[in-house]
């Protein structure tokens, strides 16, 4: 396990120095600070021939699985000859190393310059091959392929869909320079989407992963933009009188819920994602904001102080019925519906500490996931199993992640910048 981890970190540093990535590009480095209760011990044997290429595919697979907190990597040193196919995996050998599962693979260059990458996942307790697959890919696709393999292994062994092929958006601040970046879920390959001398906040992925909505203060007032990740072009979709903020996509990607103050007071409107006239959907005499569509598209959860303090409510868009969801404490905000529709993640203030928590709609149970004191802006992974959020560490803004049961904990830090406002992207279309 340790040699593999060292190799991954070393590769990460090598990549940074060889690419000359400037500090301002804010590469995130991710560390585990807490693992699942019962981790699956798995051996990831280096793939046959993989040393031919600079990117060690098996290393990326192992790093993904380890970073999930659900797996413990078993040492693969000293197994000679190295197994590269399922048939070559010797059950007793690996069981003596306390592995439950073994991953083997090979890479074979083909005449047209592509590479045949194949792997097998073997259950050494039941002595059966769980998965065997092959891909024909270009060298440029090695990283994507490694993430895909990790997703397949993860799903096979945990029953949950993997999120190793997803991306995250986040915002950095360095002095008065703000950037909105998109990176792979492992922090790799950060790309600047927006760079501004004024604050940016609330990045939100369109359901198909092709656009980002966000709020910019570059016009000396909050304005909502929608930007294409492919082309980089953007449109100010909400620039009405007063403040325009808190964009949220409908599940079909056609509409945005936004908070506008154009009619006096922060209120929630629906509008076409391309811009146009907004329709008021909620009415209160105070603050309504942070509206998010539920996964079935039929309701909005939102923050409102209509009851006197900021609390979370749910409004059915068809019936207009509004019900209050949070009752503990005097500050419950930032609702983020879980993909299975059974609950939400949100932020609560308890004795001055801001913490991330979950609410189960059926049981009304609140589970506090983080300690605070300044945790905010949670975003749920598309498999509903991890939550990324903004926190503080070492005197600056960092990101952190926690599993939905609170056991697995990660810290995501970038040198010399404040990081905030994470947004977990959707499953990629395949």
């Amino acid at each position: 396990m340790i040699p593999l981890l060292r190799r991954w970190f070393a590769f990460g540093l090598l990549a940074l120095s060889s690419l000359g990535v400037p500090l301002a590009h804010a590469q995130l480095s991710i560390e585990i600070v807490g693992g699942a209760g019962a981790q699956i011990p798995i051996a990831i044997v280096p793939f046959g021939n993989e040393g031919t290429w600079p990117l060690g595919i098996s290393g990326v697979v192992g790093a993904d699985l380890q970073r999930s907190g659900m797996f413990r990597l078993v040492n693969t040193d000293g197994v000679v000859p190295r197994p590269v196919r399922a048939e070559e995996v010797q059950g007793p050998l690996w069981r003596s190393r306390n592995a439950d599962a073994v991953v083997v693979g090979s890479m074979t260059p083909m005449a047209d310059g592509k590479v045949d990458v194949r792997f097998a996942l073997v259950d050494v307790v039941k002595q059966s091959t769980l998965v065997a697959m092959s891909f024909v890919v270009t060298q440029q696709q090695f990283r994507v392929t490694a993430h895909k393999i990790a997703d397949i292994i993860y799903e096979k062994l945990t029953g949950d869909r993997g999120v190793f092929s997803t991306r995250i958006a986040y915002i950095t601040r360095q002095g008065t320079r703000y950037q909105l970046l998109v990176a792979d879920a492992d922090g790799n390959d950060p790309q600047t989407v927006v760079s501004s001398g004024e604050p940016l906040l609330s990045p939100r992925w369109s359901p198909d992963g092709t656009r980002l909505a966000y709020v910019s203060l570059e016009n000396r007032k909050p304005v909502v933009y929608v930007q294409s990740l492919e082309t980089g072009t953007r449109r100010a979709v909400a620039n009405f009188r007063g403040s325009n903020s808190s964009p949220a996509w409908s599940p079909d990607g056609r509409r945005l819920a936004v908070t506008l103050t154009k009619d006096g007071g922060s209120q929630v409107y629906l509008m076409n994602a391309d811009g146009g006239n907004p329709t008021r959907v909620l009415t209160s005499s105070g603050i309504d904001t942070e509206a998010m569509f539920t996964p079935d598209g039929q309701s909005l959860v939102f923050t409102s102080d209509r009851g006197g303090t900021p609390q979370i409510y749910r409004a059915n868009l068809l019936s207009g019925q509004v019900e209050r969801l949070t009752f503990d404490g005097s500050y419950n905000v930032s609702p983020r519906p879980l993909p299975d529709g059974k609950g939400m993640v949100f932020v609560r203030r308890d004795g001055g500490r801001f913490q991330v928590a979950t609410l189960d709609y059926a049981t009304r149970q609140v589970q506090v996931l983080t300690a605070g004191p300044g945790d905010e802006s949670p975003s749920v992974a598309p498999n509903g199993k991890m939550v990324i959020y903004a926190s503080e560490g070492g005197g600056r803004g960092i990101l952190a992640a926690v599993s939905i049961d609170g056991r697995v904990k990660q810290r995501l830090v970038a040198p010399a910048v404040d990081v905030r406002e994470p947004a977990w992207g959707p499953f990629p279309r395949s």
Binding site: P199, L201, S202, V215, L217, R220, K221, P222, R241, G242, S243, S245, S246, T259, T261, G264, G265, S266, G286, I287, T289, E290, T303, P310, Y331, V333, S334, V347, R349, F354, G374, E376, S377, E421
Partner: protein, 185 residues
Amino acid sequence: MRKYLWIALIAAVGLAGCSSTPTTEAPVDDRSAAAGAGAGSTGAQTGGTTGSGVTGSAVGTGAGANPLRDPNNILSKRSVYFDFDSFVVKDEYRPLVEAHARYLQQNRNARMTIQGNTDERGSREYNIALGQKRADSVKRMMMLLGAGEAQIETVSFGKEKPRNQGHDEAAWAENRRDDILYAGE
């Protein structure tokens, strides 16, 4: 009123004759002072009787001063501070709000933006809304005092643009604030 206009006209004509002499005051300032002198002096009159603390009218400090920038004029004070979780305008800021409302009432072409801010604690989006509520609170008071609705836009920066980057009570108090800006500033 006519007497003050007369003085303003003489001042304007006189200064126009001095255009070849470099001065620290640009002609634009002179014109606005001339236009404002009528309003300012009226303001000074009403200000004097109600004791709102308006001092140093344009006439008093010389025909070059813009009351909005004159450090002796309450109109140059632009910030209203708020208590934690509150958007209520405290009594100590009423004279300031009243003075700006009066200026808007007397200068129907003047346009103002009120920027609302919060301290660093809590949800960014909720703080955008809270800052907006603070800006609207001052706007509402000004409208009750005669300012026109179309003259004032309210926006919020939430906790995004703190003036004090500290993390203590003093910093938080300084950041819970509305700032008043006039068009062109």
